[in-house]
Amino acid sequence: MSCSDFQHLLQCHLDGESIADRAALEAHLSACSACRVHWRAASQLATGLRLIRPLPVPPEFSGRIVAGVLAQQRAARRLRQGLAIVGAMAAAILVTILLIRVWPRAGDTPTRPVDSPVVQEAPPSVKETPGDAPSLRESITQVAQLTLRKADDTVGEARSLLARPLANDGPSAPMHSTPPTQTLREAGSGITAGLEPVADSAKRAWNLFLREIPSVRPADKRGA
């Protein structure tokens, strides 16, 4: 028996297998001191491993684990139920939004195929999210209020300008150096300047409307 054979035998022995050729092993151990030391060490190891006892499980160990596992299962069940409810609600909201958006337009355009979604007809630059509707209304209201305010300011300015030449025509009034035609021209330019914000606001409002109603335009064009 060689030292290599001995090492193989040693591993088999530690695996728990029985030694077939004991005589050959004893002969090798008698001749090889290194393997003999190894053999004694293996015997010590086997002895020590037999002394290592199974570790007792702490009391109430399984009870604590079972309680934890059952709590986990209940939490998972609640989570699944919650997700199902949220999913159902989301689906209901989605269907409602689709019905609101698709239903009237489908009625307006009978020539449009039924399966063509309205959203696809909108140009990509237009944002037709539900969140935009209130902001659009707010912006229109603000534009209208601005227009009215500017109109009031302009009317006030025009009145003040028109009041000056009329006052100059009075008998008690001192002679003015500028002719009346120049005063009227000045008043006219003042009115124009005063109306400029109104015109701009109206223009902006109109452009905003044109941008926000693109989905109607293709249908109108087709109709025309």
Partner: protein, 191 residues
């Protein structure tokens, strides 16, 4: 896979508390024992064992019914222990882990031998240590260890053989093996 195991798992999945308890009691000794021996700390072992079972029941639907249940659970146990050890390595500890699992029954020379074996095993690289502990201290077979660690049986044998040689060398270096005269060759080999 035994029919009993599959049936037990099905009952556990239905939320049967008795089945959950039966499954825990069936494997708690193996799981806790392996945790204690790999972590060398009872309290850590209790915590990790609980984590193991929570994970087992959370993943029970993914268990392959064509494979035995025990190696699957032991594989989860080994993975959780590895994670815990890596976390523990990142923080300073002053706990004597080996003393923590010593039993009162171990006294004198026997206690010293067991302590030296534990020290030697603790010094092994992780793969060797897991293979050694699972085979020699947990009594697992090569095939079960291979399934648990998802490695070929040959790899497990190699790890274990190298682990044994390192432990034997450590025992020799620590003076646990007495040098004998050539005339004191053992006349009879105990199998």
């Amino acid at each position: 896979v035994s029919v009993d195991e599959a049936a037990l798992v099905r009952r556990c999945l239905r939320g049967d508390a008795q089945a959950v308890r039966a499954l825990v009691e069936q494997f708690q000794t193996d799981v806790f024992g392996l945790c204690v021996r790999l972590l060398r700390h009872r309290q850590d072992a209790e915590d990790v064992s609980q984590e193991v079972f929570l994970r087992v029941f959370r993943s029970l639907r993914r268990w392959d019914v064509t494979r035995p249940l025990k190696p699957w659970i032991m594989g989860i146990t080994v993975n959780r222990c590895r994670t815990h050890l890596s976390q523990r390595a990142r923080r300073p500890e002053s706990v004597d882990y080996l003393a923590d699992i010593a039993t009162a029954a171990e006294e004198g020379d026997a206690a010293e031998l067991v302590r030296e074996i534990r020290l030697a095993v603790a010094g092994l690289r992780p793969e060797y240590r897991i293979a050694f502990v699972m085979f020699h201290e947990q009594g697992e077979r090569y095939e079960e260890i291979a399934l648990a660690l998802a490695r070929p049986v040959g790899t497990i044998k190699t790890w274990l053989h190298r682990a044994r040689l390192e432990v034997l060398e450590r025992l020799r270096q620590r003076g646990m093996v007495r040098d004998e005269e050539p005339s004191q060759v053992p006349k009879r080999i105990d199998a």
